[in-house]
């Protein structure tokens, strides 16, 4: 669980540089995450970072490796984001979206 705390802090660091900041130190991993995707784009989930309840919750909502996700929009205050996965619309905070590694379709 300590690893998650580190991750969260790293992400905050990244937020300060903007959502798509490419800062080396704060990045969770080198691969792009759902957080980096602009509204209107579609991507495929590669894997989920982290573990425990947060990961499980994402899995339950359909954020399963291999699933296709379309980013629909950001909330008026930029966070959270709305995505379409399967037939449903799901919102996820950028903090959590950053845990979802994706590949372009």
């Amino acid at each position: 669980m300590f690893g998650e705390a580190q991750g969260a802090r790293g992400m905050r660091h990244r937020h300060r540089h903007g959502w798509r900041g490419e800062t080396a130190g704060g990045k969770l991993s080198a691969a792009p995450s759902l957080n980096d995707m602009a509204p209107g784009t579609t991507c495929r989930i590669k894997r989920l970072l982290g573990q425990g309840a947060i990961r499980q919750r994402l899995l339950d909502m359909g954020f399963v490796p291999g699933a296709e996700v379309a980013v629909i929009r950001s909330a008026p205050l930029r966070d959270p984001i709305e995505v379409r996965i399967g037939g449903s619309f799901v919102t996820v905070r950028r903090e959590e979206a950053a845990r979802i590694e994706v590949t372009d379709v």
Binding site: M1, A8, A53, R57, L59, F89, T91, E96
Partner: protein
């Protein structure tokens, strides 16, 4: 089993949240249901039953879950119910419009070895969205019976009952099992080992446990060690298999397992569901392009809140004017039924009975407002817009340790002056994040509930006549600011180690709410308010009554008042000397009776609407008390005129004496003593014992504060001033200023929740410690803020309105500081080290 005894069948209803499970449960069991909590947790356990021929079916509604892991409270509850109670059948309710994701749970239930019946609920929604589901091939793929239903309309109930009957009588169906691909060999190896252990197989399905062990589920390991001593071998084998699989496949076993489930779900959906609208943009999305548009979203949000405020609070208030006469006549009726009042001393039962009725009707007076408010909120929830509000506001709320879904509790609690913290606290149930949920529970009571408003209005009318609007604005927004700041404070302090969850929320497709659904929810919530608030408030009102009534007057005080009463009566008889009507009141008893009749006559006349009603009352009294009527209604005859005048004087004298007695009784009372005892603490806020007593009594119900002040600031003889004028005059004499008013109002805004709310906090957190915290913390906070306000304001020689503005500015600056600057205020919330069930972390 003889033919007459009915066979019992235990059926569990499992499914995701929002799958319409509860509606289906209601349809299935009718009204015969029972709601309780699962032991030790705050999750509702609904059970009900029905009889089908010789079957006695008991249905238990499990908490809504997406899967059966051990991560969330609901899932733990659902899972332990399934494992411990071993239902005969599990009815799995699926959202037909979202089949793929719903199937994950179905697979897990089947893996656990239960006979499963799949119900495709919300078929109408699926139809509307152009989804065509091939039921026969779904049945073939799943190898379980599939039934369709529209729970909201009661469609599909008989089919489901028939399926339950069929499966219940036939016994086991053979469910299909999910193939885990590359992991399948490991699963089978561990499964076969487990199958050799009767202690295990008697309890759970070996295959399910094997998969769970491979996933590394800690509860599965515990389950194994519970039923069997030497578990190390199997656990180690599972771990070794997990590690070697991860090394070779490059993905975690857990990821692989969910992928397999998703893959099969996707495969089944692809073959069984035909999407006619695949290429079209769904209606929901087209609507959301407007409602969730970056610039329009806040506009729609503000508009929605305004409409709720206008319809429920403003119009609802108008409605209470129509319902009030009914409550008032109920009060008058009670006054008639209870033993008659004495001239000075009332029978204890009468005084207490009226006191209780008064507290009850003050609360009942709000019922129309709540009916409208709750109906509107039900519309927001059912239509799907409430989830969008959470989406829009989550960014702000999350910054302060709250959650997008905290919006609903705050609206119910009265964000904009009006609401009630009891349903507000209750509505926190839906927040999945424990930390945010508790922060919400503890801050909802800061909202301005309906009952806080009268005290504000009273003080504003005395001290801030010219700046009414501004002060009201300050008060209604400062509570929101305070709630956000306190939520942040609590999240980084006492709540920091609470379990937290991500904000991953489905935005449901829009669908029109049904009239029955909305009306039902509105009535249910209002009824809950009446029941919970009513019973608690009446009970506490009884305690407060005792505290205010005893030990009562001293012997000298009694003697003094009795002398005055004697003098008043003597004067009455002097006035009546030579009057022909005097014969009606020849003795003391009939005189007391006359005065009582006069009092209730006046009360009824005051309550009467219109001339006709007033004339009807006259007629009724003329008939019932012909001998007294000339005293009541002034006529042209001299005898009657004199008699009426004499009676009025007597009644006024009596009123004055009784009021003074009441005041002295409160001064002597236990509560009065407590109030005085608190003066050393409250002096810094310039609260004297009268204010203390009012604030203490408002713990029972906020409305009491104004009523108690009304008694404490007595009307002098012959005067007929409003409470505002009286308080204003007395307060000037006692050295109260606008600053005192500001201190009182701020204290009242931050004051601990009323007793009914604290009981609700207890119910929702399942912990007396949090309940205690919800009382102690705001008291200290409120007193600190009030003392600082008064002391600083006095030192700087500021006026009330200046100080109020200063406090507001400080609060606003703090809010912006916490909101915009991450450090040092916005330190990242730490993630908890270990999971703890709600309420176990000591504050």
């Amino acid at each position: 089993m003889s033919e007459t005894t009915k066979r019992r069948l235990l059926v569990a209803l499992a499914g995701q949240q929002n799958s319409g499970k509860s509606t289906l449960f209601n349809a299935l069991t009718g009204v015969r249901q029972h709601i309780a909590n699962y032991p030790g947790v705050t999750v509702d356990k609904k059970s009900g039953g029905y009889t089908d021929g010789n079957l006695r079916v008991q249905v238990v509604d499990l908490p809504g879950t997406y899967s059966l892991t051990s991560f969330s409270l609901e899932e733990r509850v659902a899972r332990s119910f399934l494992l411990d109670e071993k239902p005969d059948i599990v009815v799995n309710v699926l959202d037909a419009s979202n089949l793929r994701r719903s199937l994950y749970l179905t697979f897990q239930l089947m893996e656990m070895g239960f006979p499963v019946i799949v119900v495709l609920n919300m078929m109408d929604v699926a139809d509307r969205r152009g989804l065509e589901i091939d039921l026969r091939s779904l049945e073939n793929r799943l190898c379980v019976p599939v039934v369709t239903s529209v729970g909201r309309k009661g469609i599909g109930r008989e089919e489901l009952r028939a399926a339950i009957r069929r499966v219940g009588l036939d016994g086991q169906t053979v469910p299909a099992t999910l193939n885990y691909g590359d992991l399948e060999d490991c699963v089978v190896a561990i499964q076969s080992q487990l199958s050799d252990l009767p202690a295990v197989t008697g309890k759970v399905s070996a295959r399910w446990l094997a998969v769970k062990l491979l996933e590394g589920d800690p509860e599965a390991e515990r389950l194994l060690s519970d039923s069997f001593n030497n578990t190390r071998g199997i656990v180690d084998q599972a771990r070794a298999a997990r590690e070697s699989f991860e090394d070779s496949a490059g993905v975690s076993t857990a990821d692989h397992i969910v992928s397999c489930r998703d893959h099969l779900a996707g495969d089944i959906t692809a073959t069984c569901v035909l999407d006619h609208n695949k290429e079209k943009t769904p209606l929901t999305e087209r609507v959301d392009r407007f409602l969730l548009n970056r610039w329009l979203a806040p506009v729609f949000l503000v508009l929605t809140v305004w409409v709720i405020y206008e319809l429920s609070i403003v119009q609802g208030y108008e409605l209470t004017k129509l319902t009030w006469p009914f409550l008032a006549s109920f009060r008058n009726l009670t006054a008639d039924v209870l033993p008659a009042a004495g001239f000075l001393y009332d029978p204890q039962i009468r005084a207490m009975g009226l006191w209780l009725v008064d507290s009850a009707i003050t609360l009942l007076n709000y019922v129309p407002i709540f009916l409208i408010l709750f109906a509107l909120i039900a519309i927001l929830e059912d239509s799907g817009y409430m989830a969008r509000i959470a989406f829009i506001l989550d960014r702000i709320l999350h910054r302060f340790g709250l959650h997008g879904q905290s919006t609903l509790p705050f609206i119910l609690g009265g964000v904009f002056a009006g609401g009630c913290a009891v349903p507000g606290v209750m509505a926190t149930k839906g927040i999945p994040d424990q930390r945010a949920r508790l922060a919400t529970v503890l801050t909802v009571p800061f909202m301005n509930c309906l009952a806080k408003v009268p005290l504000y209005t009273l003080l504003i009318n005395i001290y801030f006549v010219e700046t009414k609007g501004l002060v009201l604005f300050y008060l209604s927004t400062i509570t929101v600011i305070a709630a956000l700041l306190v939520a942040k404070l609590l999240s980084v302090s006492v709540l920091r180690n609470m379990e937290t969850a991500p904000f991953v929320m489905e935005l449901p497709h829009y669908h029109p709410p049904t009239v029955t659904g909305v009306v039902r929810r509105s009535f249910d919530r209002t009824w809950l308010y009446i029941k919970k608030v009513g019973t608690v408030v009446v009970a506490v009102a009884a305690v407060v009554y005792v505290l205010l009534q005893f030990p009562g007057l001293t012997a000298e005080q009694r003697a003094h008042h009795e002398d005055r009463a004697e003098a008043a009566i003597t004067k009455f008889y002097q006035d009546m000397e030579g009057n022909a009507l005097a014969s009606a009141v020849s003795d003391q008893d009939s005189l007391v009776h006359l005065v009582n009749v006069y009092t209730s006559y006046r009360a009824e006349k005051l309550n009467a609407g219109g001339k006709e009603a007033s004339a009807a009352i006259d007629e009724a009294y003329r008939e019932e008390h012909p001998e007294f009527f000339p005293f009541l209604k002034r006529s042209k005859e001299k005898a009657s005129r004199d008699a009426a005048r004499a009676l009025k004087t007597l009644a006024n004298n009596r009123k004055t004496i009784r009021r003074e007695m009441k005041s002295e009784r409160i001064v002597n009372s236990f509560l009065g003593q407590i109030g005085r005892g608190l003066e050393p603490v409250t002096q810094f806020a310039n609260f004297d014992w009268k204010i203390n007593v009012a604030l203490l009594s408002s713990f029972a119900a906020r409305e009491s504060s104004v009523a108690t002040l009304g008694v404490l600031f007595e009307q002098a003889e012959g005067e007929n001033k409003t409470l505002e004028e009286r308080m204003g005059a007395e307060r000037k004499a006692a050295g109260y200023t606008g600053l005192t008013a500001v201190a009182v109002m701020l204290f009242f805004a931050l004051y601990p929740p009323c007793l009914a709310t604290t009981i609700m906090v207890r119910v929702q957190t399942n912990s007396y410690r949090w309940m205690g915290f919800s009382i102690v913390f705001p008291t200290i906070l409120g007193l600190t803020v009030a003392s600082l306000t008064y002391t600083i304001g006095t030192a700087l020689e500021l006026s009330g309105i200046q100080m109020m503005s200063a406090v507001y500015a400080v609060a606003l600056i703090m809010l912006l500081a916490v909101g915009f600057f991450k450090r040092p205020f916005g330190v990242a919330l730490p993630l908890p080290r270990s999971r703890k069930p709600a309420g176990e972390t000591a504050p």
